[in-house]
Symmetry: C2
Subunit: 236 residues, 2 copies
Amino acid sequence: MNDSNSCLTCVDSNCFIKSCYPDWIFRIMKTKSETKYKKGEYIFRVRDHVKGLFFVKNGKIKVVSTGLNGKEQIVRLAGNGHILGHRGFGGKSKEVYPVSAIALEDSVICFVDNDTIYEAFYMNTQFVIELMMFYSKELRAMEVRMKYMAQMTVRERIAFSLLYLKDVFGYESSEQELNANISRADIAALSGTNKEQVIRNLTELEKEGSLLMLADENPDWGTKSPQTLGGNHMTI
Amino acid sequence: MNDSNSCLTCVDSNCFIKSCYPDWIFRIMKTKSETKYKKGEYIFRVRDHVKGLFFVKNGKIKVVSTGLNGKEQIVRLAGNGHILGHRGFGGKSKEVYPVSAIALEDSVICFVDNDTIYEAFYMNTQFVIELMMFYSKELRAMEVRMKYMAQMTVRERIAFSLLYLKDVFGYESSEQELNANISRADIAALSGTNKEQVIRNLTELEKEGSLLMLADENPDWGTKSPQTLGGNHMTI
DNA sequence: CGTGCTTTTGAATAGTATCAAGGCCGGTGG
DNA sequence: CCACCGGCCTTGATACTATTCAAAAGCACG
């Protein structure tokens, strides 16, 4: 194991492993593996057996679920410090992934096997609590996303998806970075519509200059309603 | 405290408190309070200060969020043994609820204050792990719900909501029990549409006899797609 | 210089929300 | 007892929105 593989010197300060006791960080360091995934590669596929937990060291990942008519739906995005493959540990031994995870750009992912993770839970209270808080936060964000999915027009959902992208990946200039990693089809899969609608609405938003406004938005994923989504519900 | 207030003899075997060590169950028993809420009463309101964690002893609760145009959206349903007001503990001291919780029928809810809960986390590893698993499960269910919200037609969303109702509350005869607790407006708020659509689609489903089929459905909230929702995607 | 891929635009169709009006109770007070 | 009220449920007509199908333009790559 080289130095770049060390959890102690890892630049990502958000990684949950850091909340373990020092000797446990060492232990996880020793058992974990670190893999590079190219853009478009699968980290895991639906129905693969769950063998452990993934930590995104750096990169951008989409978690997709095959929905009705085989239409792909992006249920979650994961960036630096996030975890992938929750639901794996703790359940029955023969658990399988209900979703697939695909790299949106070249990414480095750490992997810790089930046994180690599970034992770490029992030995590192803070670690479990942090993870629980993470789930709790994700759950809340999900509730908000679901609410908006249910109530918004397509145009608003698309705008909202851009905000979500910015929130998770922290894009600065929506335009270029966005085009680099995310296709129109991806945005559609995130917004629950088709690529044609995405294209139409993006050009409209661009005409109005709303895209730049979106880039400046700082959504609070809990209490606040989106203010400038350029739709009927616009409240600027 | 009378006997019915005891966590040891509580009939609900799913309650998370049971995964604490015996002496901690006693401690929680002593500090907790137990309140009856009538149908329609609020357990907590959006922006109330979070003071602890609620456990549904028995009853049916809807967790609602005010969405766009002030339209109510039901983001979650909670039945026996479920918890309410997650997100409270652990965060900043002055946390507030991002949602409201309302009783759908007369319900009994236990309440444990923040300090006790938080200390219990640190002293009862199994307790935290169970809670984490619960969140993880809820998160997964939420991802599925979101996917369907995004991809389904109104008709299918309504059918799906009925399955969700059955899953959480375990209705046997959809018809009567459903009408007793849930109004058409509630189903609309759960499905992300309006009461008119709910009415139209329910009568259609009834004509086709699909309602009864729905009652027999046993949805797997993870991998399986709904098979008999009586829409375009129907695959009977 | 095709070939395959994503993006873009158009037109026809289907689905959904909204508005308006009326029906059906259960309760309340004259 | 009956009339009235307010609640929820139901139905219809209309305007709007979104999906789908089709076709073409742009672009990278061998």
